[in-house]
Amino acid sequence: MVRTRNAAWLMVLGAGALVALALSPLHAAGDLEARMAALIAPVTGALARAVQPGADVLLHAGQVEQLTNENAALREQVAQLEAEASTLRDQQASSEQATALQAAVGAGAGYLAASVTVRDPAPGRRGIVIDRGSLDGVVVGQAVLGPGATLVGVVAEAQPHAARVRLVDDVRSAVAAVVQQSRTPGALAGGTSGASGTPALRLDFVPIGSQVHTGDLVVTSPLGGKLPAGLLIGRVGSVESKPEELFESIRIEPYTDYNRLLQVLVLTSSGDAK
């Protein structure tokens, strides 16, 4: 009796297998299998992760010393190669930035190429120290240009062999600027945006209703008097008008990532700024 029942069950198993195979081309069958696989995947994944370290130890138990030596040698090799690659990358980046800067400023302007030696570590302060100082002709108030001859800051302090540059996105920075397309004047100021305190540029004191649009170029203004006119700063990122405010809220997107400056030019005489 039991054997008959077992044989019947065996036939059911075989028939079930054939039915499952016959149905397997159906999309629903594949979908069902995929759902079930997704159900067990976390369990198998957790099991595999739990077992992997033990399996590694078991599989490599006889090779621990050899692997340790190999690992140490490889680490040493990697460190050497990283150091070499890092030096080459720095040299390449500095050379590229310096060449691009000189090409962008043009022949008429007097400038000094300088390397960035220090970034201001103080939170909320956006400044750099360059390796040229008053003995090289650097004076307070000179414009400092970054890639593409865009204005990145102003010399704030000149020492004999170094100078401190206040970047335009520093909270204490204020530069007379103008929207190139509409000739709308404003004051370029640094600050922060959002809860994260990300440095940001804004154009202040632009009255409501001014013809300022997203994408317009912002350049230095001849009205300030301290900086040469026409130095590119960035472009208008967004313009917001609030009825209760007197001025537009304009965010400027700089063309330069101030965090990646390696080489800058100090504009000693304006010439023909682009």
Binding site: N6, L13, A17, V19, E33, L58
Partner: protein
């Protein structure tokens, strides 16, 4: 005990999928832990107790694989046949010997059928050694499982029990 058999079989299948390939990387054919355990269970306990557990194993292995579940059901059928069609009333030594034999044959059939299902019939002669090796290890595991499961064997109720 059927539920226990199903739970153990499913756990063994998950271990088969997740752990065995890590422990035996690069092996051409892997020993089949769930088949070994079910062979031992079917030998020690009434064979009908694996009736639900075997399809459960096939489903877990099938959904974890690129092959369809139907192939796994078919691949598990030879083991089911070896367990279910064996005589019920046998001496214990013969019953216990049934486990490694059934596991070995089941693993052979399983490996062969899935190789055929994957369309690699021409690779069968080359893979025979690997499948045979896996079947041998499966049989050994089944023998070990029998030793562990013997305390769970079904005992006939005597007059004074």
């Amino acid at each position: 005990m059927r539920v226990t058999a199903v739970v153990i079989a499913v756990i063994a299948s998950l271990v088969q999928v997740a752990v065995v390939p890590s422990v035996l990387p690069g092996a051409e054919a892997l020993p089949l832990l769930p088949l070994a355990i079910l062979a031992a269970w079917g030998a020690v306990r009434p064979a009908s107790e694996v009736c639900i557990a075997l399809p459960a194993v096939a489903v877990v292995l099938g959904v974890s694989s690129q092959e369809r579940v139907g192939w796994y059901l078919l691949a598990c059928a030879p083991l089911a046949a070896a367990l279910l069609l064996a005589p019920e009333r046998e001496t214990w030594p013969r019953r216990l010997a049934r486990a490694p034999i059934a596991a070995g044959l089941g693993a052979c059939a399983y490996g062969t059928l899935l190789l055929v299902a994957s369309g690699r019939v021409q690779a069968l002669p080359g893979e025979a050694f690997a499948i045979g090796g896996a079947a041998l290890v499966t049989a050994l595991i089944a023998a070990l499982c029998v030793a562990v499961l013997v305390p769970l064997r079904a005992r006939s109720v005597g007059l004074y029990e």
